[in-house]
Amino acid sequence: MEKEQLGQLLNECFPGFTIEPFRDTFRIKADAAAVHPMALILHEDDRLKFDYLINMYGIDFEDHFAISYHFESTRYGTTLFAEIAIANHEAPSVDTVSDIWKTAQYQEREIYDLMGVRFHHHPDLRRLFLEDGWGFPLRKDYTDEINVIER
C-alpha cells in the first residue's frame, strides 16, 4: 500500500485525530480516552488490519506520560505509529489493549512495573521484574536511597 493511500484511509477512519507523517509512515496522536476504540478500528478494519503489535513502551515527559505503539499489518505490509498522551502525572492510567493483541498483556505489565502506568481491565496486572513496593525506576523523578552509591 502506498503512503498517500494509507494517509487518506487514516484521515477517513480517524476524523479529528492529529495524524502526522513520520519516517516512511504516519503517527497518530491521541488522548488516553481514545486508545481502545482507536485500537479496535486499527485491528478490525479490513482496509487497515494492523494485526501485529511490534512494540509498545512508556515515556515520562516529566509533565505528562506517553505510550508509544508500533503496529504492522501482515496483510498489507504497512507500519504505523501511535502516541497516547496521559495528562495525569500523579496517577497515570489508560485502557488496556491486551484483549486485542495478546502480546500487549506482557508489554503492559512491563510498563506498569517500570513506569507505574496502570491499565484498566487488564486481566493480570502484576509486577513483572521487580518486587512489590519497589518504586518505578523509569520515571524521571525516581530516586533510590538504598542502592545508589554516591561517588
Binding site: 519516517r23 505490509g77 513483572l128 512489590d132 523509569l138
Partner: protein
C-alpha cells in the same frame, strides 16, 4: 511473585492439581528463570513464567550513557546475538544522523551477523539435544562453534561479547586471515551439518517428542509477536532482513525459511535450514568485500536530532527493535529495547497446556530462550 499470591494459587487449586516450581536454577531453563507449573497428574494445566531474576535495568542505565557506551550494554542482553544487538544501535545512530557507512563495513557487518547466527543456532541445537537426553549433540555443537569463536577472537580479541560494531563502522578492521579462515570454516561446516541431521533429525524418539507438540497457529503467533525462527515455524513471515533490508542484505540472494506446522519440529527445522542459508549468504559476500576504510567520519560526540528514532533488525532469536526518544543531548532521554525472547517466552502457557510435564522442557528448548534478553 509475592509469597501471599503464591499461597493463593496453592490453596485455590482443584482436586488432584498441584504446583511445581521449575527453576530458577533448573538446567533446562538455560538461565535464572522460574516456571510455576500447575499439574493434573502428569499433564500440564498452566505455566506461569516468573521473570526478573537477572533484571539489571539496562534501559535506565542507558539514559546516563552516550551512544557509543550504549553499544557495550546491548551485547549483554542476548549474548548469543552480540553482533546483531550492536548493529541495531549502530544503524539507529547512523540513520538518525544520515551517515553513509562504507561498503567495506556493510559487507563485514553482514558476514559477522551471519557467522553469529550460525554460532547461536549451533549452541541452541546442542542444548536442545541435551535437554531431550541426546548428550552427544552437546559435544558436536560446541566443537564446531569453537571455529567461529576463534575467528572472532583473532580479529577482535573477544569470543562472546565483542562490541565491535559501533556507530559509524567497526571498532577495528578484520584480521588478514579472516577471509581465509571463514572460507575454511564454511567448507568444514558444509560437511559437518549433515552429521547433525544424521545424529538427531531422523531419530524416532526425537521426532515423537517434537512432532505435533507445542503447536501455535499463525494468528496466535502474530498476536503474541512470536518472531524469528519460532514465528516462521508457525508460518508467520517475519524476517526483517527480507522486509526491511539493512547493511548488505539487499545485495545477497537468500530464502526466508517458512514452515506452517507451528510445532516444536517446525521450529527445529527452520533453524537447521537457516544455517544453510547463512552459509549461502557468507559465501556470496566473503570474496567480494570491497576495499575501504573501516569507519565513516563521525563526530566524537554524537547528538541525535530531537524526536523519536527506531531501528529493527533480525537477530538469531527474532526481531529486535530499538526505540530512542532524543532531546538533542549526547545521551538518550529514553531508550527501549523490544527484545525477541521477551515476546517469544509468553506463549509458553498456551503451548504447554495439555502436554506432559516432560514436554515443557522440549518446548522451552525449542523457543531458544536467552534469559538476560527477557529481563534486560
Amino acid at each position: 511473585m509475592q509469597e501471599a499470591e503464591l499461597q493463593d494459587i496453592v490453596t485455590s487449586r482443584e482436586d488432584g492439581e498441584y504446583i511445581i516450581n521449575i527453576g530458577p536454577q533448573h538446567p533446562s531453563t538455560h538461565g535464572v528463570m522460574r516456571f510455576v507449573t500447575s499439574l493434573k497428574g502428569e499433564m500440564i494445566d498452566s505455566v506461569v513464567p516468573e521473570t526478573g531474576y537477572i533484571h539489571r535495568g539496562i534501559e535506565k542505565m542507558c539514559e546516563r550513557l552516550t551512544y557509543q557506551q550504549v553499544i557495550h550494554l546491548t551485547d549483554r542482553m542476548d549474548y548469543l546475538s552480540a553482533h546483531m544487538n550492536n548493529e541495531a544501535v549502530a544503524l539507529l545512530v547512523e540513520n538518525a544522523l544520515q551517515v553513509e557507512v562504507p561498503d567495506h563495513v556493510k559487507y563485514i557487518r553482514t558476514i559477522l551477523c551471519e557467522l553469529q547466527r550460525i554460532a547461536s543456532h549451533q549452541l541452541w541445537w546442542c542444548a536442545f539435544g541435551m535437554d531431550m537426553g541426546a548428550q552427544t549433540c552437546y559435544f558436536y555443537g560446541l566443537r564446531d562453534r569453537e571455529y567461529i569463536l576463534d575467528i572472532f577472537e583473532e580479529s577482535f580479541g573477544s569470543r562472546l561479547i565483542h562490541s565491535v560494531i559501533c556507530p559509524g563502522g567497526l571498532m577495528n578492521d578484520i584480521h588478514p586471515n579472516f577471509q581465509k579462515r571463514t572460507k575454511d570454516f564454511i567448507k568444514y561446516f558444509r560437511k559437518k551439518l549433515p552429521e547433525y541431521d544424521q545424529l538427531l533429525t531422523g531419530n524416532i524418539i526425537f521426532e515423537n517428542r517434537t512432532k505435533g507438540v507445542g503447536v501455535l497457529s499463525r494468528e496466535d503467533a502474530i498476536s503474541y509477536g512470536f518472531t524469528g525462527p519460532c514465528g516462521r515455524g508457525s508460518g508467520f513471515s517475519c524476517d526483517v532482513r527480507k522486509k526491511y533490508p539493512y547493511s548488505a542484505y539487499d545485495k545477497v540472494d537468500f530464502k526466508e525459511i517458512l514452515y506452517t506446522e507451528g510445532d516444536s519440529w517446525a521450529r527445529y527445522k527452520v533453524r537447521m535450514d537457516e544455517m544453510w542459508e547463512s552459509m549461502k549468504i557468507i559465501e556470496q559476500l566473503i570474496d567480494n568485500i570491497p576495499e575501504g576504510p573501516f569507519t565513516a567520519k563521525m563526530k566524537p560526540i554524537i547528538k541525535l536530532p530531537e524526536g523519536e528514532h527506531f531501528q529493527r533488525v533480525e537477530t538469531a532469536k527474532g526481531e529486535l527493535g530499538v526505540y530512542v526518544i532524543s532531546k538533542g543531548d549526547k545521551n538518550p532521554y529514553r531508550i527501549h529495547f523490544r527484545t525477541p525472547c521477551f515476546s517469544n517466552l509468553f506463549p509458553i502457557s498456551q503451548l504447554c497446556a495439555g502436554n506432559k510435564i516432560a514436554d515443557l522442557i522440549a518446548i522451552s528448548g525449542s523457543l531458544d530462550l536467552v534469559i538476560p534478553d527477557i529481563d534486560r
